[in-house]
Symmetry: C2
Subunit: 197 residues, 2 copies
């Protein structure tokens, strides 16, 4: 029970920070959303900033656990069609999972204020995906599925358009379905360009 509330506070903080930003969130509202009174929160965290730091700790740890090491690299697709399938599977998770959406929004809102958020934002929005697909494209080139080229450059060219549309989904959720279609169309166009026929 003890630790439960501590984690519920972080969950509520993620929700509110992602909606209103750190400065736009107050602990009365946060407490109320948990059915607590504000002083109750201070039994678990000594300040608003401590909540923020604990939330960031959690986000950083989660990222390290799920995307941080080579263990978590997806298997290299063994066909061009499988590349699109893998891509769409990853995209569907990332644009529909509320927790992931809120994490991206928080990082978007706090990237200019907090150095750790800044660093994690760059991983989430740019380098993380690029590294994964650098590995994938290198593997697919080895298998003769994709034309020999600089795998890091291809990964960059492949993932950043997808990222742009994921950001669009965060900003304008009603466009999510269209964005997903566009990502699939882009993936197929990419394959038509760089895939070995």
């Amino acid at each position: 029970m003890a630790n439960d509330t501590k984690e519920r506070i972080l969950a509520a903080a993620l929700e509110l920070f992602s909606k209103n930003g750190y400065a736009g969130t107050n602990i009365r509202e946060l407490s109320a959303s948990l059915g607590l009174v504000k002083s109750g929160v201070y039994k678990h965290y000594e300040s608003k900033e401590a909540i923020w730091n604990a939330l960031l700790d959690q986000m950083i740890a989660y990222y390290a656990d799920h995307f941080g090491s080579a263990d978590h690299l997806p298997p290299v697709p063994d066909s061009l069609e499988a590349l699109t399938r893998l891509t769409m599977q990853m995209v569907n998770i990332t644009v529909h999972d509320e927790k992931i959406i809120m994490t991206r929004k928080v990082l978007t809102l706090e990237q200019f204020r907090d150095d750790r958020a800044r660093e994690l934002a760059t991983k989430h929005f740019l380098t993380g995906l690029t590294e994964i697909f650098t590995h994938i494209f290198a593997g697919m080139m080895d298998k003769g599925l994709i034309l020999r080229d600089d795998p890091a450059m291809l990964a960059f060219a492949y993932t950043t358009p997808i990222s742009a549309l994921i950001h669009l989904c965060d900003r304008e959720p009603e466009k999510t379905e269209d964005a997903i279609d566009q990502i699939e169309a882009f993936s197929r166009h990419f394959i038509a360009t760089y895939g070995v026929k």
Copy 2:
């Protein structure tokens, strides 16, 4: 003198909102940065929100003036090298002009809170550049400089990676030089793929 202060307030608001966000900015600090006392600001705007709305009005009008109509489309480059030159010229302006940087940051910070910011953010970050380059690529295809393809798809594939690196510059300004180099490398790689040899 009257209108001068009114515009200086908007300039200061842009500066502070882009740094600390709307909720993280207070009018005492804003006034002080202009050598005014806080009540002085209320002679020109009736509330903090009115300042925000006037700033957005200005940003929207600026965007419409500079990128809104077909008049402002750059000339279609007449060589592949000229495409890279045009790109780098646009990129250099956009990542070094403080006002443009601050505009992007404000839109980044307020896109989830304000509908007009949301809409302008999508133009700035996604559709605006794509439209310009759709026109450019269509023109270059007509001139036989680029392989016949869907110009909108190529524009999307060309501009979103560049946008991703522009965002990186906003987030981590010390990486600006590297990002510019990477954009140029990407542009040349793109040309190597889609350009007519």
